[in-house]
């Protein structure tokens, strides 16, 4: 793999930023009345968002789901807008209409986020169809979980995308759990990537904790899509280090399993590699961390100080 230094640094940076972002929320969401609703974090899965988005250009589109923070930050979303939205504030990227579950950032081409499991897939098909229709040199990435791959919408979307050879990359973030269900409790198929064959589509298995591997696979899938060779199903094997949401005590996730995966954490894995290969030094790593820390702190401050929307703003934005 011959990945540009800058890309490697970028991946490390967005992973660190994403992790700091999550870590801050772990604390904040436990403070009574601070953050409404559920809190769903992507701790441990950052390599998927960072690796995939590093392979994308600004014009490429991502369609994401309930576990979106790492995708959006890696695609370049403003942490302040996200944080304020998570706090349900008026200054949030969606004016408090969304909250944390459907964070939508059209500014970075993340225009349709949905918390309906499996729903990202047909929408991504439509978004990629538009790219094909207008002959845009861009692709659509669709993020979804292993649980989502059991929804009917997965099937219809992959069939149509393959049939029309649309420029879409289906990224299945297999974190071994769907809610409280372990992977093998919700399907018998060993690898989700296997399902690609049901549509005559390439299916690829990637180590989802290895950002450069994810990047490489996404880059190739993107090129195939741009070359008119259609969609790819990319299964990124990773692990949900925290609960489904922050209120989930994870009683059904074996402690050793969590520990084992924590040891495979994608961030030290990449940072060690980059230090070993001289792409960054440990001072630079520390700087990244403190910069991320201060960006997140600034975002939290911004969110905390921002006002809530006025009640009657609820009536806005229903129709154009």
């Amino acid at each position: 793999m011959n990945i540009p230094r800058k890309k490697q640094q970028e991946m490390l940076w967005t992973m660190i930023l994403s992790r700091k972002f999550s870590d801050s929320l772990v604390e904040l969401c436990r403070i009574e009345g601070k953050i409404p609703g559920m809190m769903i974090l992507s701790t441990g899965q950052e390599a998927v968002g960072s690796g995939v988005c590093a392979a994308l250009k600004q014009d490429d589109v991502i369609i994401t789901n309930h576990r979106s923070h790492h995708h959006l930050l890696a695609k370049g979303a403003d942490p302040k807008g996200l944080m304020a939205e998570i706090f349900c504030k008026k200054t949030g990227c969606n004016k408090g209409k969304s909250g944390t579950l459907h964070l939508t950032v059209p500014e970075v081409n993340a225009p349709c986020t949905t918390t309906v499991v499996g729903a990202t897939l047909p929408i991504a098909v439509g978004r990629a169809f538009a790219q094909q229709y207008t002959q845009e040199q861009a692709v659509t990435v669709c993020f979804f979980g292993d649980g989502a791959a059991d929804e009917g919408s997965f099937h219809e979307a992959l069939n149509l995308a393959a049939l029309w050879q649309l420029p879409v990359i289906f990224v299945c973030e297999n974190n071994l759990y769907a809610g409280a269900q372990r992977y093998e409790e919700h399907t018998r198929v060993k690898d989700m990537a296997e399902r690609a064959r049901a549509y005559d589509m390439p299916g690829i298995i990637v180590d989802g904790n290895d950002a450069p591997a994810v990047y490489q696979a996404a880059l190739e899938a993107r090129q195939r899509a741009l070359d008119g060779q259609g969609p790819t199903l990319m299964e990124c094997k990773t692990y949900r280090c925290r609960g489904h949401g922050e209120q989930d005590p994870q009683h059904y996730q074996p402690r050793d399993e969590i520990r084992a995966w924590q040891e495979k954490c994608p961030i030290p894995r990449l940072s060690n590699m980059l230090i070993a290969s001289g792409i960054i030094n440990s001072a630079e790593l520390q700087e990244m961390e403190s910069m991320a820390e201060s960006i997140v702190q600034e975002a939290v401050r911004f969110a905390e100080e921002s006002p809530y929307p006025e009640p009657r703003e609820a009536l806005e934005d229903v129709y154009v």
Binding site: V61, I63, G92, C93, N94, K95, G96, K97, S98, H102, T104, P106, P111, C112, T113, T114, V116, A119, L121, P122, I123, A124, V125, G126, R127, A128, F129, A130, Q131, Y133, T134, T140, G152, S153, E156, A157, N159, L160, L163, W164, E316, D317, V318, Y319, V320
Partner: protein
Amino acid sequence: MQKLGMGQAVNQALKEEMQRDPNVFIAGEGVGVSIHVNPMFPTHGLLEEFGPGRVKDTPVSEAAIAGLAVGAAEAGLKPVVEIMFNPFFTLASDMIVNHAAKLRYLSGGKSSFPLVVRIKSGAGFGAGCQHSHNLEAWTAHCPGLKVVMPATAADAKGLLKSAIRDDNPVIFIEHMGLYFAPMPVPEQEYLTPLGQADIKRQGRDLTVVTWSGMLGVAMGAAEKLSQEGIEMEIVDLRTLTPLDRETILTSVEKTGRLIVLHEATRTGGFGGEIAAVVMEEGFRYLKAPLRRVTGPDIPVPASPPLEKFYIPDQNDLIKAAREIM
């Protein structure tokens, strides 16, 4: 003036809009190559004129068809997708109700979804309840959607053109019973605005609010009652949401009496909404109880006498009118 069935009027609207705007495309099951070769059908000949790039036959995959519309609309295209029969809307309903209708709101007004979902509906062709089930009340209960149900070919053309140009998701429900009876349709280009009901017949004694396939029943009954000296005013809603309350209320103010006539089953039908609006805002006008003339609360049966029993007819309406005069 040209005479067209409603299917042909829809066809003309689609053609004109596709010629006008290269971003308009159509998709659905059999919208290109079809098992029907009948020119009375709405998508007849479009594949030949616009090619397979813009007339997209899809697999039997309603969720994907609807998702296609949602995603493509966000990108600025103008999808017009078809759900073959109203009951199959269920399969597309997550994409339409939870996504087309809500994603703009969820984005804080940043994204928009200018799509049209055409749905074929209506009883009367002996296919039974899995093909015939009028579900307009479902979509009319979903903020973020507009719901259009034309009763004439001319309205269908003008309303569909407006729907395609509207930047919101529009549900456009066509009664198949109207495909086959030619009706006058203006030749020149015109748009019929969404959200405006149309008084299809003036009358002083009784207001009938109706839409879609039932307009013909209302007009026929009105002629007959006129001979007895009862003059019904027929309000054709055309658009269920946004609802034109003003036209309804003005009419009831004049007549003091209200009948709602729809083909859908009674309980939970959109007739209730009309009743509620009048009872809220026009209570003092009312001289008599409401009557709803609707399909009974049963699935649509296949056998001709049963299906005929299901579909409200002129006699049902006349009987209801006499009851409250």
